[in-house]
């Protein structure tokens, strides 16, 4: 009897295979042969039950494998979506997996190879049960700073391996240092003249000789002027940040340049510095605020003259490339160190604080230039070779965009 059923099963199986070699269909067919509530009793069914049980186990294993596979794949692709690099190793220290972001470290050939070394070292320590965090700073260009964190992976008190996370802290640290320096610099810029005023006032109160008093008063006026300039520039910046202040005049750029040069000419002449404007074709007017553009150009000229040697020259270039106006101011002064170039547009940022106190200025000029450029839909950039000079270029889109 049983052999009959087996034979029937085999025959039916063969037939089914003939119809379709689809295993899933075969399984469904087998299941339909024996509904679940019927299975499990009687000698006849026990053989069928055996076959079915084996089949079921295989089905379950297959399903588990499939779901584990899709689960792993899903996990993997979500790890790849992470910005942080992630590296996982097993209890023996072998790397099990890593996400896409970790590729740049594990396959690094230059600076990032150092991060990969740190990852491996920290994983090693994490496997021993430690939780460790380290910062790695790469000094070669482009400078980067990474935070590597490693911890053991444990379950029920047993260490299964270790996981390392690598986060790029470059931007975070840049913002942090901008914020920190801003607070330090703003208090420096505002408090230095106030401190000087307080001392000068003290001396005046001591009833000095008339000529000494006159000198003290003169010094006080210089310091007051300094605070006044700083406050003016701060107000200008605040105004520039207010979007509604964006002008909508038609501005002839030649007139702007001429007016700015006119303002700087006296200072330039005093130090025998020539300001030369390049020849250029007529440029159509652009939309914006004449006052702001003039103050931007003036600030650039002011810097150029300030940092030029006596008898030097400042070149102003005006040209249009691809509907973009490029207005450049180049000097032959001391230039700007490479490391500082990205920071000079920050408020109150000074390359050399000791020197800038002599040259005057508020430390806000370039911030103003940048804001004016941004408000007009453009930007400002700098190139420099230290010791040979610097060139600032304001790029502004030309024509009505409405």
């Amino acid at each position: 009897m049983t052999s009959l059923i087996v034979g029937a099963l085999l025959a039916a199986g063969g037939a089914a295979a003939g119809i379709a070699l689809d295993r899933a269909r075969l399984r469904r067919w087998l299941r339909s042969l024996s509904p679940a509530h019927e299975a499990g009793s009687g000698p006849r069914r026990s053989v069928r039950g055996l076959v079915e049980a084996a089949q079921k186990r295989r089905d379950q294993a297959e399903e588990q494998r499939l779901s584990a596979e899709t689960g792993a794949r899903r996990l993997e692709s979500s790890l790849d979506g992470l910005q942080a690099g992630l590296v996982l190793c097993d209890a023996g220290g072998r790397l099990v997996t890593h996400n896409a972001a970790a590729d740049i470290f594990l396959q690094a050939r230059h600076g990032e190879a150092l991060v990969s070394r740190v990852i491996k070292d920290l994983l090693e320590r994490a496997r021993a049960g430690e939780r460790v965090t380290t910062t790695v700073v790469l000094h070669t260009e482009p400078r980067r700073s990474y935070e590597v964190e490693a911890r053991p992976v444990e379950r029920h008190g047993e260490t299964l391996g270790a996981v390392a996370l690598v986060r790029d802290m470059t931007e975070h640290q840049r913002i942090e240092s901008v914020r920190r320096d801003f607070v330090a610099n703003v208090s420096h810029e505002l408090k230095t003249p106030i401190g000087a005023l307080s001392l000068l006032a003290d001396s005046l109160a001591g009833d000095p000789e008339p000529e000494v008093a006159a000198r003290l008063a003169g010094r006080m006026q210089v310091e007051i002027q300094r605070v006044d300039n700083t406050i003016d520039d701060l107000l200008t910046l605040a105004m520039l940040e207010d979007d509604s202040s964006r002008g909508d005049e038609r501005v002839a750029i030649d007139a702007v340049v001429a007016a700015a040069i006119d303002r700087i000419s006296e200072t330039a002449e005093q130090r025998d510095i020539k300001v030369i404007v390049s020849d250029h074709a007529e440029i159509e007017p652009l939309r914006g605020s004449r006052l702001h553009l003039e103050s931007a150009v003036f600030n650039l000229l002011d810097n150029a003259v300030k940092f030029s040697e006596t008898g030097g020259r400042v070149d102003v270039g005006v040209e249009v490339v691809d509907r973009t106006l490029r207005l450049s101011v180049a000097d032959e002064g001391i230039g700007i160190p490479a490391a500082e170039r990205s920071r000079i547009f920050e408020r109150f940022y000074r390359v050399d604080r000791a020197r800038s106190r002599n040259t005057g200025g508020t430390g806000l000029g370039l911030s103003i230039v940048r804001h004016v450029a941004l408000n007009h839909g453009g930007d400002v950039s700098v190139t420099s070779q230290e010791g040979y000079g610097a060139q600032f270029t304001i790029s502004l889109p030309i024509g009505d965009t409405d």
Binding site: R109, H110, E112, T140, E141, E386, G387, Y388
Partner: protein
């Protein structure tokens, strides 16, 4: 069994490659840090760089020992042998590069607190960038086994050499104008020389890469060229009358 041995041999070679890449990364980083310390007059950082050089030395010894044991235990032939020999030589070059970064730091310490004239600062920054670029290119040629890139490195190094000459010329100018004292002048001349040497070490690395890939020995040609020279050639001596700046001179300092 033999397959097992071969596998572990190549795994060992991979490890050596990884270590050399790390060594180069460390050496390049040390050069960049040394330049920062020099230009920022940061003696604390300078000391740290000198201390950190130990990591480079340790890694270099690690590579050398791995190479030694591979040579002794596996007795590799042909390409495998060249690979290991090249790795040993390249390690020595990178270790020297790290040493030169320390020398720059020591120079910075000796010339403190003299201030650097802006033009010399600019040239130092450029030499440093160029030297680091050469290190990177030499490692690229090593990792990719790119003999073509390796043989181009000698020419690419010309730019660093010419920067070095420009630097010396400018240094003579400013020290004649008494903008820099004798002691810092001497240190600056040495420091410039260190950058130039770092470039030379990168070229040496690329020579070893060419040997590793194709078996040619570029250094042989250099030696025979050297032998034909009876006297050291003085063509490199800077002439003071030559105009230095590309955009016309304005009083330096």
């Amino acid at each position: 069994m033999t397959e097992q041995t071969r596998k572990s041999f190549h795994a060992e070679i991979d490890e050596i490659n990884d270590l050399i890449v790390q060594l180069a990364a460390r050496a390049g980083d040390a050069v960049a840090r040394a330049t920062d310390a020099l230009l920022r007059y940061d003696l604390v950082e300078a000391q740290k760089i000198i201390d950190d050089d130990e990591h480079i030395d340790v890694t270099a010894i690690e590579v050398e020992e791995k190479c030694q044991s591979l040579l002794a235990l596996q007795q590799p032939m042909a390409g495998d042998l060249r690979q290991i020999l090249a790795a040993m030589w390249i390690t020595a070059e990178l270790e020297r590069t790290g040493g030169l970064a320390c020398n720059i730091c020591k120079g910075a310490r000796r010339m403190f607190p003299a201030e650097l004239p802006p033009r010399l600062r600019g040239l130092i920054a450029e030499m440093s960038e160029e030297a680091i670029r050469l290190i990177r290119l030499s490692v690229d040629s090593y990792s990719e086994r790119d003999a073509g890139l390796a043989s181009a490195l000698d020419d690419i190094d010309d730019r660093l050499d010419s920067l070095h000459r420009t630097f010396v010329r400018n240094l003579l100018e400013v020290s004649r104008a008494k903008d820099v004292d004798v002691q810092p002048s001497v240190q600056l001349a040495l420091i410039a020389r260190y950058y130039e040497r770092i470039g030379d070490h990168a070229v040496n690395v690329s020579d070893r890469v060419r040997y590793m890939v194709s078996g040619v020995m570029p250094w042989r040609g250099k030696i025979s060229r050297h032998a034909t020279r009876e006297q050291p050639v003085l063509e490199d001596l800077p002439s003071l009358s030559t105009d230095v700046s590309p955009d016309g001179g304005d009083g330096a300092g």
